[in-house]
Symmetry: C2
Subunit: 322 residues, 2 copies
């Protein structure tokens, strides 16, 4: 606690394919200052780091200077915690292995750690959110894809190479839907926002049931459309959620057999569909779980506010730096 008194802030940098958002965060999870730049506008990673620093440094100075910052945490696609590098990230402009943590550390003189976005979300949830005080939980992020961060014995699981926890690519249906990773039947082909829209198209084709969704051109249906239809009691939309929740619940029952977590925390747009998705997930967990685990693992919704979650998650890593 002493070091937090002396250094009351951390910096969180969330690197997305479109935007990079960064902010200064205190120990209670309040973002005291933040800003953002366009990630894609910088073909050279040096220019990019310069631009982040140019925008970030004034915020740091306004809050007491670099001496008040305990650490910088970065959440980035394909981020490797051990090496502090981004490795072959398909949606970022810089190719190969980028030593991003070292670059920021050098520019700003503040210890910097880096991990992937789902791991950052898990640390954020443990530090400021629904998993406060928990030593064993699994974070599942339901976005365009499905990500995960696994915490065991109070530590994030990085594995021997820094890349553990790709539960979105556990295969849930052998020879199932084609996945962007080149394999078939991955969890994220069913339970991401994209997965829900694929299900919508399948369900609309394979049945003749009337549905509000039939008014929307098949190719432009979003998971939000499915949610809106479900809220209006649309049977087909409810069936889509039922199916999505079942596939996810079956997978979660298997994940529980791995690490027997106290809770599974769901984050992201789909998680906000509330009971429409939580009920079928819980039902599928209950029906598929080994007796020894029955009724023990809580299914929770993230408590981090959407707009802040990415920066908070990344920033939480800043507290962990030894």
């Amino acid at each position: 606690m002493n070091s937090n008194m002396e250094k009351p802030y951390v910096v969180g940098i969330d690197i997305g394919g479109t935007n990079t958002v960064f902010g200064i965060v205190d120990a209670r999870g309040t973002i005291v200052a933040s800003s953002s730049i366009k990630t894609g506008a910088y073909a050279q990673v040096e220019e990019y780091v310069d631009e982040v620093c140019k925008n970030l440094l004034p915020l740091i100075v306004a809050n007491g200077g670099v001496d008040k910052v305990k650490g910088i945490g970065i959440g980035a696609p394909n981020g490797n915690f051990y090496s502090g590098t981004i490795e072959f990230a398909p949606n970022l402009p810089w190719k190969g292995v980028i030593p991003l943590a070292a670059m920021f550390e050098e520019r700003l003189g503040i210890p910097t750690a880096l991990t992937n976005d789902a791991n950052a979300a898990a640390i954020g949830e443990m530090t400021y959110g629904a998993a406060r005080g928990m030593k064993d939980f699994i974070m599942i992020t339901l976005g365009t894809g499905v990500g995960s961060g696994i915490v065991i014995n109070g530590q994030l699981v990085y594995g021997h190479d820094g890349f553990a926890g790709e539960l979105g690519h556990v295969i849930v249906r052998r020879d199932g839907r084609m996945c962007g990773c080149g394999r078939k039947g991955c969890l994220e082909t069913y339970c991401s926002a994209t997965g829900v829209t694929r299900s919508a198209r399948e369900f609309l084709t394979s049945s003749t049931e009337p549905s509000l969704l039939r008014a929307i051109p098949a190719e432009s249906i979003t998971s939000k459309d499915v949610y809106d239809a479900a809220v209006k009691g649309d049977k087909l939309a409810l069936d889509i959620f039922e199916f999505t929740g079942q596939v996810l619940g079956e997978a979660l029952a298997d994940f529980i057999a791995f690490s027997s977590p106290e809770a599974i925390v769901l984050f992201g747009g789909l998680a906000k569909s509330g009971e429409y998705i939580f009920k079928p997930i819980q039902k599928a967990i209950d029906e598929n779980i080994l007796t020894i685990y029955k009724g023990k693992t809580k299914l929770l919704m993230s408590e981090l506010k959407d707009a802040d979650a990415a920066v908070l998650g990344a920033s939480a890593l800043g507290w962990e730096i030894k």
Copy 2:
């Protein structure tokens, strides 16, 4: 190291449904003395503990007395590390929750820890075997059933309730083979010794291919028979190993996405089928693994001698007691 000098031994007690084997083990993994009793002969657990102590104490005394023993480790079915209890073990004579670690600790005055047999095997492998020096690996025990022990960041994964790591009950085929746990399609219905014999019966029924196995009454075929036939080049037996290895390899590819281990260590009768089983496992891992993990996780055979493995594994837990 100092405390090992003062207390150079640990005691391992392996509790099986038939026999209980116990021994005194030194820091290099040499069993300096051992003995056994019949587990099933004692309807009351108090009698059982008395009998183990009556046989164990002379061995301890002959090796310098209780002051030379750092700890006792017990491997037992349904063992819970946190509480030191055996809970509702179907194959043991004592029902309900049995505080076995406390009972031994009280009788002998030596700190005692307890875990399930597969976890004990993992700690044994990390202390004396193929996983020496590794901080991240998964132990898979292929016996009558399939068990597992998961090590992450150098620590055994117990989960929030002490029961983590039941990978034998991850569902690998939805609506697949009926499992003893009451569910369908668990890994152990395919990849245990029992699973291999089930496969043998299925393969013999579904094809008319000549096979050495047809000379054996279907109900009495063992996994050893399948191995013996495979060694003689029997096509059907080789197909059975191919199938078993494929199912296991597919499952291992998913386990790697969880904890990205440095190695997976296979233990038990089936693992000793060598290339017949390792080749198809490795092939299925390679074909099913996410690109990011490709070629990184070693597939190893246990280095613990069969006869000693259970006692060594349990004993290794004795070193871990704080």
